[in-house]
Symmetry: C2
Subunit: 398 residues, 2 copies
């Protein structure tokens, strides 16, 4: 029972969907999945850090003790004990966060989509860092804003530049800890300045913090959330401290916004897996992250150092990079005449991959930049890959 | 380190978010979670049907054998073997579905959001049944369409009415099997007529099918997807045949659309939990659903019969209802002067709950309708609850 020779549909996509493109990064990742490629392109955490056995035990416990609840529909705002745990973990002596301010989401990428849905109209002005996280640009772009790039320096966003361009803006999106893509960190004084500027302007400040726990040296810097919980929207994730494949993150915001985000979440997917939330709570409730996170920090700090040493050893003069204090990325600036998209094509022929920096700019891409990740590549391969890249670049400087 | 006396933000929500409201049903469900309430309001499957032990074993197997893969980021389109399984399960002798046409989503509610995002512009005309699934109306409404309700009868949508009102429409949303909220089924001849009408019009036809497997008597009727895979967008779910709390569904569509939906999915949440997908595949790959689904059918069919018998026994003349051939719902029409929202207030005082039908209408709500679910209430409580409702209604007919 099938109709004969149907004519195919002439698809009319929405205006927002017409401008939608697949992430350059994810397209590159498809190529770099080939085992012969040394890939510095990934944004993936190292699977060596995944606490598989502990999570297996947690699944067993939750399904044995509360299986029928874990497998049933659950509340849109999330699993109460986990929301409470998150609220407590973010609270400081000066600033109490309540679980009512916490909404669980299916990875913090979903928080970006929900925030865009709820705060951005067509042509709304949206302020972003220069450069900024590609996934945020993608998520927001579906709601057709006008992005305005805030000038930055090696310490991130310049707060005094914000006021000059903030008129009519709906939000400012910032990633203060070990930023993706640049790996840079915003110092505490500047965080406070930024929070103050935004408060004066009545401008919602988004603090995206997937890497905050991955500081190599010191305790993490104070969160902007705790400097002004009435004006900051905080996004956190279990992807980098536990495991990303389960898709679990959270957003913390003032109550009027969190209720609106909850309504949008309900329409988007009803709720995030109950089972996943209960298992994560079971995994971390006894303080597991306090033991576990230092082992991730040590691994990443060591591999970062290997890459920095290799860059120092092999790379020609004229290329600059930062020395990250945490996170997963190093950001390189090459001489102006080198287009890193072309460089990538040559690099892939040599079985090395990275992400060209241009994708991370909302406006005026700097094509002579690139992002390297060191977390999933073993040290000897890091050296080999950096040496190959150096050779390709050196050839362009002759 | 906290700023003093910040002024709260004067939130400016997007136009789409301003009109967003919490689902009446989910607000009612909060009240009806109280244990003393006999709730016919739920759309929840019965937890008695959840294969907890089998899924626990599947988690153990997947995490033991492929833990690091299951917990890592995965592809946006989904886990290949599960997509292949779905493609095969939907294929018929006449119509082969390929895994390339399958996109995994975080519950089929997410498919509604993605379809809305990709196909609906402001003021786009969207055709829906009268009445229709509330979650679809909610998801689509965020993209600010103009809903046009297609006339229906006891057998669902009237195909010849579609052509009269389809000019400029972006899609037609239909739920042919044991519809939510009415429980009605579209006969096979009418399915074919509808598919033909839509094909002639070049109108994308959405076939939402969460309940299709829950037929009480016969094999499920042919899917509209297999009548025209070039024109039908099919949505399926594991919520009603396995468990809803894990949030796993899928959408099957022609390639140009599925690639666009995949891009939208990537911006929305990168991908659906790898672990969940691998565990569901592990659970069902050896034919488990063929044994499991009949037990769900038997349970629901029995409870449906108990409710029908109670309605026959207790309900006054002047109230009509359908006799579902599957699924989870019975739809009641009361005398015109009874507003079921008021009736609900009285019913909750008597510790009985249901969902007023008005919420399910995109236009011109019929306030004298209501939806009853029988799947999570034990037989003796079904009788007790129906008797109480009958008494309340009878009092209004005096």
């Amino acid at each position: 029972m099938k109709i004969e020779n149907p004519k195919p549909i002439d698809w009319q996509f929405s205006t927002r969907a017409e401008q939608l493109q697949s992430s350059v990064i994810r397209e590159i990742l498809k190529v770099t999945m080939r085992p012969e490629i040394i890939s510095f392109a990934g944004g993936l955490p190292s699977p060596a850090t995944f606490p598989v056995e502990r999570m297996k035990a947690a699944f067993d416990t939750v399904l044995s003790n509360q299986g029928k609840v874990a497998l049933q529909y659950g509340p849109t705002d999330g699993y109460g004990p986990l929301r409470e745990w998150i609220a407590q973990s973010l609270s400081t002596a000066e600033c109490k966060i309540s679980m009512e301010q916490v909404l669980m989401v299916s990875g913090s990428q979903q928080a970006l989509d929900l925030i865009g849905k709820v705060l951005i109209d067509d042509h709304s002005k949206v302020l972003v860092e220069t450069p900024s996280y590609l996934g945020a640009l993608q998520a927001f772009s579906l709601y057709q804003p006008e992005f305005v790039s805030v000038p930055t320096d090696d310490n991130g966003l310049l707060p005094h530049e914000v006021a000059k361009i903030a008129d009519g803006a709906r939000l400012l999106y910032a990633l203060p800890n070990f930023q993706n893509p640049t790996g840079r960190t915003m110092p505490v004084e500047r965080r406070l300045q930024l929070v103050e500027v935004c408060e004066k302007l009545g401008l919602p400040l988004i603090e995206d913090d997937p890497y905050g726990a991955l500081s190599y040296r010191n305790e993490p810097l104070p969160k902007m959330l705790t400097m002004n919980p009435d004006g900051v929207i905080y996004m956190g994730s279990f992807s980098k401290v536990l495991t990303p494949g389960i898709r679990l993150g959270y957003v913390v915001a003032p109550i009027p916004l969190i209720r609106k985000l909850e309504q949008a979440k309900q329409a988007a997917d009803l709720h995030t897996s109950q089972l996943t939330q209960m298992v994560v709570y079971e995994t971390i409730k006894d303080g597991f992250l306090a033991e576990h996170i230092p082992s991730i920090r040590t691994l990443y700090a060591n591999q970062c150092q290997v890459m920095l040493d290799a860059l120092d050893e092999f790379f020609p003069a004229g290329v600059t990079w930062n020395r990250p204090e945490g996170g997963m990325f190093i950001w390189l600036t090459l001489p102006k005449h080198i287009d890193c998209m072309h460089l990538l094509e040559e690099a892939i022929e040599q079985h090395v991959a990275f992400v060209p920096g241009a994708s991370f700019y909302a406006n005026a891409p700097e094509k002579n930049t690139l992002r390297l990740s060191f977390v999933t590549v073993p040290p000897e391969k890091i050296r080999e890959g950096v040496a190959k890249l150096a050779k390709l670049i050196a050839a362009k400087l002759k």
